[in-house]
Subunit: 399 residues, 2 copies
């Protein structure tokens, strides 16, 4: 629809309405990856995960993929033997039409769990998708993967390394069932840098841990989370020949792009009226810092207080107290709403102003800062409030 | 107010309006326990717990208590040094007035976190409370401990053992911040049986594990959860001299009483429109069975689907998949909505009727049954749905 998302040389995309949804909207995409690309992925830790994820992880280990087939409207999870056999049918058709090998295809699905996927509609769409493949399909891809999302999530970077241009483009979807563990719902990022699969995997895992794995809307990890990165190597830049400082520039930009996509998912969190950064500092271990931040971010009482713009900090303290890890000493904790110190020395701060807090909470973008004062590690989690609309959206999802 | 809750010989109670709340309502109770009673308690595992809980647990270890002082309207948690010193002040007054020792008093508080308790109002009320002590104060006690609760929770049993009458009476409170870990918000049970503190402790721990520790409203464990049982020994029945079958009758009745109180808390869960029993059977370990049941019961997506009377069983499967424990094989799981088989052999059951499920979900009392088919252990968790009203109540709690 005319938005200029940066194309990535070596990536072709097409999207159509295949009939996954009743309404006429894009719901199926095919992505073609040029030979010689490196591809890495991380996937959901949910134990009831979709066969789409199983097939994708297996194929990715075996070969460098040539095609991604991506549908919304159906998660193909909890679908028993049909799940895998339906996927096999349309992988076979992709192989027939494109002349690729069966295990050079990765499969991604998102939508309702437990209903059989309309695999014939996918099969029937493949010739058309193949004929439509083009360089500037990112915008349509970003639309075709949406479910309860209210808006598309895209992000891009153009950087110069070693006097050559490198581009990175990414799209993601996700709005509910967001508490990614190893990846978010669906995310596709491509760059034209040349980089080995080994290095790319390492980068993806590191970056995911501080971006997608640090957002939560509702504490629910989906059955279909998949995050894929493709490096086509079509630019003149080879990662391994870069100087250390230039590598750092690339990684910094890649991380910014992932963070931007992650934050866009939270911003579009189901029913969200607030975008909340929970920042936990000076903790003995990273794991504990994340546990504290997640305990606050997933607390329904904290989230409803934020929705009500009520500085009910007792709920923050209660959430901190509810971590599983065995810690005894909460006496050094400081709790800040924005930069307003609320709690110190185990009780309310003497100069705390509730009226200032209330005023601050009227903002859409909020920060909760926790200083644990017991170490040097930190964690940042992004989340939303809990509103009437979250209940409304999820009460009416299928009906 | 005339309700005939069974008195327990050896227990005297009085309740008054002391001014913890602005509105005129009972908010402070004193309980007198006769000498020679056995008392046992279990307490919250929240790490930010109230000094009331700390003092109570410490005193209970040292001596057999003579008095309980219980207030609603303020949790006295997150109150720093004032927390303990305020408690000390009113314990001292109780000691003065009643001539008991300082560490013969247990303290219980429930209400908002982080605000200093109006300890002077408590001190001023103690002479009046002491003068008002009477045998039939259980009904007023059940009212004075309420916060966001819509109704009182009481339960009682009268049984005959060894040709002698034994009575058990209990009251509890709790509506939000309900995901007890070792005890619920506040619970007071008394019986006139004679039993050692050691035996009573053992009974309380065992029973709590299958009653209060198996309910959840919102996955939040409060800073003040305390559950106390008192055995006055005023009946003619001595537990240790009972036959095995009679001991079993007593334990069965005691457990039924606790279960009844636990279920009343869930029934009064904040914003609850449904009362849901999640029953997980045939699991390899009790721990895993509880983990699965709690994962379903605490899933906001499952809870909103129940609110909407939508048999969106994919969310149940997703919640099962989200347990932390390392299990690979979900292939034997059967999911039932009520007794309607929905999911088997990894996919939707061939004779599943969605219209039957929808009809079933119109009931107020619902059962979700999971057969894991991998062992002999089981767990039952009771919970509520997630409604607009939960958000409303918690958005407006302090404002």
């Amino acid at each position: 629809m005319g938005r200029n998302i940066t194309n990535i040389d070596g990536i072709k995309i097409s999207s159509i309405h295949s009939g996954m949804y009743k309404e006429r909207r894009l719901d199926l995409s095919l992505v073609e990856i040029s030979k010689g690309s490196s591809v890495a992925g991380v996937f959901t830790k949910n134990k009831a995960r979709s066969d789409a994820v199983n097939v994708t992880e297996k194929n990715l280990k075996k070969r460098s993929p040539r095609y991604l087939i991506i549908n919304s409207g159906n998660a193909n999870a909890g679908t028993g033997k049909n799940g895998l056999s339906d996927i096999s049918c349309y992988i076979k058709e992709i192989s027939n039409i494109t002349s690729c090998k069966l295990d050079e295809v990765l499969v991604f699905s998102t939508g309702v769990i437990g209903e059989r996927i309309k695999y014939k509609k996918i099969i029937n769409s493949i010739p058309k998708l193949y004929n439509k493949l083009c360089n500037n399909g990112w915008d349509d891809l970003s639309k075709s993967i949406l479910t309860t999302d209210k808006c598309t999530k895209t992000s891009e970077k153009r950087i110069t390394l070693n006097n050559n241009k490198v581009s990175i483009t990414g799209v993601a979807k996700g709005s509910g069932m967001i508490n990614p563990k190893m990846a978010t719902m669906l995310s596709f990022v491509a760059t034209d840098i040349k980089i080995s699969k080994f290095e790319l995997n390492k980068l993806l895992k590191d970056i995911t841990d501080t971006t997608y794995n640090m957002i939560t809307v509702d504490g629910e990890t989906s059955t279909n989370d998949s995050s894929i990165i493709i490096a086509t190597g079509k630019s003149n830049v080879d990662y391994k020949s870069l100087k250390k400082t230039e590598k750092e520039i690339f990684v910094k930009n890649l991380k910014e792009l992932y963070l931007s996509l992650a934050q866009k998912i939270v911003n579009d969190g189901e029913g969200a009226t607030k975008f909340i950064k929970v920042n936990v500092e000076r903790v003995s271990t990273k794991k504990l810092a994340k546990e504290i931040a997640m305990s606050i971010a997933n607390s329904p009482l904290f989230k409803t207080a934020m929705f009500a713009e009520d500085p009910n900090w007792g709920r923050i303290l209660c959430a901190i107290g509810n971590i599983e890890s065995n810690v005894n000493d909460l006496s050094k904790i400081e709790i800040y709403i924005g930069n307003i110190l609320v709690f110190k020395n185990n009780s309310i701060y003497k100069n705390y102003s509730e009226s200032k807090s209330k005023k601050y909470l009227k903002n859409k973008n909020l920060e909760i800062n926790i200083k644990y004062n017991n170490g040097k590690e930190s964690a940042v989690v992004w989340t939303t409030d809990l509103s009437y609309e979250y209940v409304e959206i999820n009460a009416e999802y299928r009906t």
